[in-house]
Symmetry: C2
Subunit: 333 residues, 2 copies
């Protein structure tokens, strides 16, 4: 049976709950009807295409139990913003489906503040949603815009294209390791840095918008570099040579996990939400300008090949990398 506290929330009505906690103070003029009706009505500019994605995060699968409401909100929206970044799209609107085991207004309030803060930073607006009773999970559907015929896909890589990744890899997984293993030795500074990278990965929206001009393919790294590079190769019907020595991993990662541990996490760790993309050799100079202008470092880590599969190299030598898929993580209590 539904418990009494929950009944009181249900009595508010799903729209009332969404309306009360999540209605933006102001909508931009492209929101013709926002939260509060059976659906939102939105104006898509004539020269644009609509880009739509959905991503759900579940407690114990995509974030540890006891993660703060604001941090959960951040992750739920950030993973969707990252999908827009991977398409080279400008995120504009989103809907929220919030499943909660019990009514907790304090929690909802903190969640809505965290959500609003990230939404404001990326100029994306909540236009609808529902709340249901159930285990804690958040499903966000994001809508963005691209100019006609200007979007990035996973399927455009060509043999000879250079492979790049933004930022550093494995840091979110490194932060998670610190959460899971409190005995791991790390300086306060490194600990804080890596936890921040786990809780608040930066969606590379600005970079994605600029990459449209130079990249032949792109996707975001959510399941680990090796897994995601294989997906990109499969979609593009090609293969890749990956230079392990070139993988970007930072001083905190090397310090806490050693070079081998940092490499393992860079290859297999998920949740970094960096962009993995390919650039024709002739366009690398233009990429340099984009890096300078966006302030996002991008590292060349390999080259697209004709034959299928990903081959790893250390210096000049082909090496076999042990498998290590990333299930985000096993349930953490």
């Amino acid at each position: 049976m539904l418990n009494t506290a929950w009944r009181q929330v249900l009595t508010l009505g799903e729209f009332d709950l969404i309306k009360r906690f999540f209605t933006p103070a102001n909508y931009s003029s492209d929101v013709l009807l926002g939260v509060g009706d059976d659906a939102a009505v939105l104006a898509v500019p004539q020269h644009c295409r609509l880009v739509a994605a959905v991503d759900t995060v579940v407690e114990g699968v995509h974030f540890p139990v006891k993660t703060s409401a604001a941090d959960i909100a951040y992750r739920a929206l950030a993973v969707n913003l990252s999908d827009m970044a991977a398409m080279g799209a400008q995120p504009r609107w989103f809907t929220l489906s919030l499943s909660m085991p019990q009514a907790d207004e304090q929690w909802i309030s903190e969640f809505s503040v965290g959500l609003s803060r990230l939404a404001a930073r990326f100029s994306v607006q909540l236009v609808g949603g529902d709340t249901v009773k159930g285990p804690l999970s958040i499903s966000i559907q994001i809508l963005g815009l691209v100019d006609k015929d200007q979007w990035l896909t996973r399927s455009g890589a060509k043999p000879g294209d250079l492979i790049f990744v933004s930022g550093a890899l494995g840091e979110a997984a490194g932060g998670l390791q610190l959460l899971l293993k409190p005995d791991l030795h790390a300086s306060l500074e490194h600990r804080q840095y890596l936890l921040e990278r786990f809780y608040h990965p930066t969606p590379r929206v600005e970079l994605g918008l600029r990459l449209k001009l130079v990249a032949s393919s792109a996707m975001d790294v959510s399941d680990g570099l090796l897994t995601d590079l294989r997906k990109l190769c499969a979609a593009s019907h090609c293969g890749a040579d990956l230079q392990l020595d070139s993988l970007p991993h930072s001083k905190p990662m090397n310090s806490v996990f050693g070079a081998a541990g940092a490499e393992h996490l860079a290859l297999h760790g998920g949740d970094d939400y960096e962009l993995l993309f390919t650039v024709p050799a002739d366009d690398v100079v233009a990429l340099q300008d984009i890096m300078t202008e966006t302030g996002v470092p991008c590292t060349e880590i390999g080259r697209i090949t004709r034959n299928g599969g990903v081959q790893c190299y250390r210096s000049q030598d082909a090496v076999v990398v042990e498998e290590g898929g990333y299930d985000h993580f096993a349930v953490v209590n």
Copy 2:
């Protein structure tokens, strides 16, 4: 810990799972990029506005445990189609977020068949989605189109407008009662009819599209007539006089539940997904034509008033109706 069977599904990758079971055989030309990338790319015609809604259904809250996969798929999509109907929108595309406790390919296959069947009937296309491990719940975001400046809202009712409802009310709740109380006496024919109404409510999409020309306000009846009429009145800053004698309830309802029981379910039962709408008195003739052309009976059940609140009448007498909110239902095992 995640179990092994689930790991195997996760290894498929969420996109692979969605791609394998849910990719439509053919996309129409407005789907520029469908399932399989970080997001879908869609073409919105110049003269149209985009209409977006999300609705989530959870096992034990919106459908009983042991409901068939195909019936769950039907409900998950139908409630979203009903939101489009309430807006007078033509549904076009949807994304799916599917949370399942364990990998069960047979179940997914049956679910996808049920989903595809309803999607084809309403010419709506699945363009993306994800799968996550968790309790059984399905979140669908639906996207539809309306001509510029032609959509229905809850907020347009004016004093003097007549209140209508499509179809018959309380039948889905009646079907649910039969599921919950196997001892209830009902003929096989009535039982089948009411269970069908519970499992397969008809989204009134065609009616909604036509109502745009005559209705001053509209919404779908998902939480029970009385609750939803109050929401419509609140959104329109008005009240309503509701004629209990006029409520449409069918022969099977009267037969199984008696006149009083049928009335109670008509007032408080949810999940019928009929349309509740208001029409200026001058436009009632035009509504008659719409009823004839769509084949959907609509019944006048009252009138919008200036003062707030919903007042019920039996014949000429004001009556107080006992409260009876509809929590879809308490958990059913």
